[in-house]
């Protein structure tokens, strides 16, 4: 049990410090660690937990809390929460002191531009990893495609899309 908690702490501390470009960029690595390296859950369960995190209010990536819960109960929640939100927050606190000084340096803009393709590559990878694990029938594929299309082309609230997807899923059409 203790070794599991240490493993969770190590994984999420690393993810916390590597999450440039926001939470979703670390999703593929989180999935790789949790599903492939440690085999704590199936890829399908991971996707379900991710979906639950998206359906709940609050910051992105509440899947972190759920992974901790699923793997090690309340202690797991405590460890993943501290490990995921602690290190990046400490970096933020430290950065606040130096931010004013570097605000107008040209290298700051250079780095910001340079990080953008990595962010988008990681976002696309997240989308593929989660879609692969979530879509195994034609109807689920249809839900994914229509949701993606509506979310790109309209300003419809994401929660409506999640609700509609759940209801269509509930009919069980095409699922066993």
């Amino acid at each position: 049990m203790t070794s599991t908690l240490w493993a969770l702490a190590f994984i999420f501390t690393q993810l916390s410090l590597l999450a440039f470009g926001g939470g979703n960029t670390i999703l593929p690595e989180m999935q790789r660690q949790v599903v492939e390296v440690h085999q704590w859950m199936s890829a399908e369960t991971f996707s379900s937990l991710f979906a639950l995190g998206q359906a709940a209010p609050g910051p992105n990536l509440m899947v972190v809390t759920l992974v901790g819960w699923h793997v090690a109960g309340w202690m797991g929640v405590l460890v993943t929460t501290l490990a995921k939100f602690g290190p990046s927050s400490i970096v933020t606190v430290l950065a606040l002191f130096t931010w004013e000084r570097f605000k107008d340096r040209p290298w700051r803009r250079l780095v910001q531009v340079a990080i953008s393709p990595i962010t988008s590559g990681l976002f696309l990878a997240s989308a593929v990893v989660i879609t692969q694990a979530s879509v195994h029938t034609w109807l689920l594929g249809g839900i994914t495609a229509v949701c993606a299309w509506l979310a790109v082309t309209t300003r419809i609230h994401p929660l409506w899309l999640l609700a509609a997807g759940s209801l269509i899923g509930l009919t069980g059409i095409g699922q066993n």
Binding site: F20, Q54, V77, T81, F85, F123, V135, G165, S166
Partner: protein, 193 residues
């Protein structure tokens, strides 16, 4: 919709701001955590700038720029930065804890329901539909984030390499970033992007 002079968007960008107490930081971010469905950032702006006036628009944009630059979720970093600005570490802890407390309890409740009923076919079907919709939303976010790269074509190589490596070759994140960040910085510098 007719705009009135009191419309918050028309507020003077240099308006005086109100200093929150540690308790107000906690309750403010607690409410934000409870009400922010599908992207907390627009709601955060409305709360921090328009309604509670903790920051003016320029300060908010500046702080958000820092938060986007650093690792971690933007809204998480923003709560820490705002708390820190007003009350140091105590404020940062109050804001962060306020932001994640309610959502944590809510997802754990949902997760418990999922654990108990995951063998029930109806619940399984419902969650399958939910997961498919969540995947669709993720695809839409990936598309929106990637579209601006059209203006910086040489960097599309880096994005493609990162995408294929992480999604299909399952490269670990740390070496990927150590490899691609210098490459990307070089391309950005070389092509003056």
């Amino acid at each position: 919709m007719a705009r009135t002079p009191l419309d918050p968007d028309d507020a003077d960008p240099e308006q005086p701001t109100i200093i929150p107490s540690v308790r107000e930081l906690f309750t403010g971010f607690l409410m934000l955590g409870l009400t922010a469905f599908g992207g907390a950032l627009p709601l955060a702006h409305r709360m921090v700038v328009d309604r509670r006036r903790w920051l003016n628009n320029a300060e908010f944009t500046d702080l958000l720029g820092l938060c986007q630059f650093l690792p971690g979720g933007n809204i998480i970093n923003l709560s820490v930065a705002i708390g820190m600005k007003f009350h140091g570490v105590r404020g940062a802890v109050a804001s962060l804890f306020g932001l994640i407390a309610a959502p944590s309890l809510i997802v754990i409740s949902l997760g418990t329901v999922y654990d108990i009923y995951q063998d029930d076919p109806h619940i399984r079907h419902l969650f399958a539909g939910l997961a498919a919709a969540a995947a669709g939303l993720l695809i839409s976010m990936a598309i929106r984030i990637s579209l601006p790269l059209r203006q910086r074509k040489p960097l599309i190589t880096v994005a493609a390499l990162c995408f294929v490596g992480v999604a299909f070759m399952r490269w670990p994140l740390l070496p990927t970033m150590l490899l691609l960040t210098p490459l990307s910085v070089f391309i950005t510098w070389r092509f003056k992007l």
